[in-house]
Symmetry: C6
Subunit: 230 residues, 6 copies
Amino acid sequence: MERVKTGIPGLDEIMMGGVPRSHQTLITGTSGTGKTMFCCQYMYNGVKKYNDRGVYLSFEEPADSITENAKSFGWDFKSIEKSGKFSFIRYDPYHIEDVFDILESTIRQVKANRVVVDSVSALGLHIKDEAELRRMIFNLSIILRKLGCTSLLVSEIVPGTKGLSRYGVEEFVADSVVVLYYERLQSTFVRAVQIWKIRGSPHSEKLHPYKIDNSGVTVYPKEEAFIKRT
Amino acid sequence: MERVKTGIPGLDEIMMGGVPRSHQTLITGTSGTGKTMFCCQYMYNGVKKYNDRGVYLSFEEPADSITENAKSFGWDFKSIEKSGKFSFIRYDPYHIEDVFDILESTIRQVKANRVVVDSVSALGLHIKDEAELRRMIFNLSIILRKLGCTSLLVSEIVPGTKGLSRYGVEEFVADSVVVLYYERLQSTFVRAVQIWKIRGSPHSEKLHPYKIDNSGVTVYPKEEAFIKRT
Amino acid sequence: MERVKTGIPGLDEIMMGGVPRSHQTLITGTSGTGKTMFCCQYMYNGVKKYNDRGVYLSFEEPADSITENAKSFGWDFKSIEKSGKFSFIRYDPYHIEDVFDILESTIRQVKANRVVVDSVSALGLHIKDEAELRRMIFNLSIILRKLGCTSLLVSEIVPGTKGLSRYGVEEFVADSVVVLYYERLQSTFVRAVQIWKIRGSPHSEKLHPYKIDNSGVTVYPKEEAFIKRT
Amino acid sequence: MERVKTGIPGLDEIMMGGVPRSHQTLITGTSGTGKTMFCCQYMYNGVKKYNDRGVYLSFEEPADSITENAKSFGWDFKSIEKSGKFSFIRYDPYHIEDVFDILESTIRQVKANRVVVDSVSALGLHIKDEAELRRMIFNLSIILRKLGCTSLLVSEIVPGTKGLSRYGVEEFVADSVVVLYYERLQSTFVRAVQIWKIRGSPHSEKLHPYKIDNSGVTVYPKEEAFIKRT
Amino acid sequence: MERVKTGIPGLDEIMMGGVPRSHQTLITGTSGTGKTMFCCQYMYNGVKKYNDRGVYLSFEEPADSITENAKSFGWDFKSIEKSGKFSFIRYDPYHIEDVFDILESTIRQVKANRVVVDSVSALGLHIKDEAELRRMIFNLSIILRKLGCTSLLVSEIVPGTKGLSRYGVEEFVADSVVVLYYERLQSTFVRAVQIWKIRGSPHSEKLHPYKIDNSGVTVYPKEEAFIKRT
Amino acid sequence: MERVKTGIPGLDEIMMGGVPRSHQTLITGTSGTGKTMFCCQYMYNGVKKYNDRGVYLSFEEPADSITENAKSFGWDFKSIEKSGKFSFIRYDPYHIEDVFDILESTIRQVKANRVVVDSVSALGLHIKDEAELRRMIFNLSIILRKLGCTSLLVSEIVPGTKGLSRYGVEEFVADSVVVLYYERLQSTFVRAVQIWKIRGSPHSEKLHPYKIDNSGVTVYPKEEAFIKRT
């Protein structure tokens, strides 16, 4: 199985080389775990270091806000957008009828092979029926697979709930699942990442610490994190 | 009670020889436990090693995706499909009216004696009423029993919930139940399998570790796993 | 209070002689605890050893399946059915309007004094209203009492839930309650039985281990089981 | 505050002399704690030892069944019923429109000063609205207070739930609350009674063991029970 | 911030002098914690010791019952009612349309500056909508503030639930919150009081034991209680 | 990323200089954690020390009550209101159609750059649909961002629930999240603050104690708090 490098230090190593090509990988965690940062770093590295092209679909946070925050980490999305190799789509999750058409045509136009959908959980705000939501996310994955895109799908975990996603269906549709933890150990909060599954492949079965600083996310593939999910 | 060999190293041993012939065995676990891999290995071994014939009904993951992932483990489903001894059915769980007719006719056509239904929980997305769902799964088991098929039924456990299945009815219909665990022990995730029940037969009452690597699933029948379900 | 022997080794001893004559005793436990096996053993012993006559009403598992599984333990239900001393009723729980008439007429015809209803929880699939379900089970108990039958009523516990039954009403209608446990102690699963209540009578207040092997169920009345229900 | 003796050994002592005269005392516990036995013993002692007169209203268990079980403990309800000092009312909880009229007229006829209502939770099967149920129980308490009856109201706790009653309203209407526990300590089940509250009076704040044997209930007022409610 | 003395020994001390004048203080706890007793003691002390005037609004327990129970502690509400300095209002919570008009006119008539509303949770039985209930309690607090009354509002905690009130809104409307605990420590039940908040003021942040005996409630401001809420 | 000083001792330090300019920061905690006090101190310091201008939107507590309580801490909101640099808006959360117009026009009129909305959870009382509520809060954040206001949004946590907010959506809309804890450690209640997230910025990942006394809130940036959320 071929891999696509995220360029996030340490993450590719614990995923046995990167995210599987043409697969959908779910990035899931509570608010504050840095899911959007993982996605920005994946996307920006793709365009700048690996000569890929990309589309970032955001259902809530405006492109401006994401762009501005990314700048703090030295990622200049404005410039790659101008180069034509990257495009932001900001879409209101409350009128989603044609979002997939727009996504598909933008991917074709940009010739994108990297895609981020931030977040698929936001679809659940509009689609109340669990079966319909699962189907929607499933259809999304069909499109992305058909277009050969290596995609990160973001999913929210409500703090204080167990489970891997807001609606309990997101993880069953994705090919791979990466879980981000942000949990209290005594008086300190600890960040850890886990490769929950990669369809058709072995992977690290440990919990690895990661940090967020001015250069973005760094995962420690040789260290183990000790947290206790409450 | 006659047994059918799964050919999964170690699993037949802890099931006292294999899965009971003509029974429905539920394979249940959270996302990432390798349920589909257990089923593929059971099916591929059946056709290649034990001269059986089989049908694999998938409600969500496309045949292509399953086939491609299986190849990573050296299982060439394309070739056994060409030989006429095996058939994939990919069926939209949102139009299930005639799925059982199609399943039955395919089984008859292939002369299949091994069947996988992946997953029966997906039926619950379409059928909201618990009683109707239970009846549906029950009718499925009647058909499979009538046709003399030794079947694996896949069931999902939502991470963070207790219980053996998504809807709490799947395990009451099956003849046998195999539970797959994937749980954190300190900073490492551990895989373990348990034979929860085999109707009309004693079985191992221990929790056994299993691993997933390039040759698929291996169960350790002489070892015990120590996990703590949270 | 007169007792009826179950003939299950050890069980009669911890129930102070057996199940109370003409009472309804609830056998409750999760899938895999062997509830149906307890009932078969009670019924078969009744006809063969104690010269009783019986009716077994099954709402889901077909008579054939029960008969076949029972054979593994040396209980030949076919032969006692032929002798006229025993009758199986398999009834679709989705059309229950006249099930009690059929049960009553079969009991009268067989002159049965032992009855099994497997399971009363299945009634809850059809009857959504808790009050109506309780009334239904209550009416069933009235009939069985009127006919002087000593009855075992099976009830399901959904794994991962606390409580004594699927709907939380079954135990309030029965005269006596027997709870079967199947729970993990470290890496091994342990079976234990508890006499929860016997109306109008003292009973063992300990948790006793039991095993299932080729001769069926054996309870250890002099031993205590150590389990921790999670 | 004047007390009425229950005659249950030890119970009067931990209630500072008995149940408060003209009050409603809730007896609550899971199935199997012996709530009906407490009530029978209270009633029988009242008529035989303390020259009181009583009415026992049962919503589910038939009078015959209660009478028969009581006989095992040496309480002959048939004879006190014949004497005119006691009356059983068996009332279908599904047609409760006029139950309070019947209760009131029976109390007046028997000149009863002791009343048992077994169980007020059964009213909740018919009355789905929490507010209406609370009002119903409240009205019942108004009638009993008006008639000067010292009453025991039975309430069910569903095993595995926390809380003092099935619907969470029963305890707010009663003047006093007695909680019965039946819980596992290691491999043994332990019985304990607690006086949860007595309106307008101090009371024992300890958990006391009790036993059930051939002479009924005995509470140990000088001992403390160690249980852990799970 | 000016304080009003409750006269309950120890309570004023841990509240830094008493309850804040013109504020609403929520008294919350499970059945059996003595909420009504706290209120009676506050009211009776107000009229007798501090020359205040008061109104007690009860939604369920009749005035007679409260009066009678209060007498056990030496509080003669009949006499202060006759003096015109105090008035009981017993109001059916099922017809609450004009309860606030009646409350206001009674307060004006009595010239009351102390008010008890026992309990605001009872309003929730009639008002099913959480927003409407919150608004109702909010409007009540507006009236009481406008009239300059120092008020105790009683709130129920359902045993076995976490949280500060029955509906989870009561505590957000009140200015101050006093929580009463009654919980098991080993085999004994322990009473403890906590000042959860006082708007605009520091307060004791410890858990203090209290006892109930023939002279009513006594809080121990210098002692700490050790309980474990389950 | 530019910071705006709260002037709350210690808080700016653990937020790496203050709250991010033009961002929305969620202040969340149970009743009694001092959320309104944090906001008042932020606002009053802004106007008096940092020459900012502000608007405080309150959905429940009247301006008078907030003003009066603030006075206890030496914050004279009346005077800054007179100076024209500050304005209170008290708005009924039950008629919210035009609240955002009013907020916007008041912000423009006052030329406010600091805003408090106390509380966004109150919006959820009126808006029952989770998706609509999330959109409403989202629109609010768009307006505040457009106007360049640095805002504190208050959110309620229901005691006894896990999670960061009453409705589980508030934290996904805010740029930053500050969590206030008030929890029992043995017999004492402990206050602690945590910077849960700051979008696009690292921050302290420790739990810091804070106290409330006559001068308001003080955070201890060099100390760690040890609490156990139950």
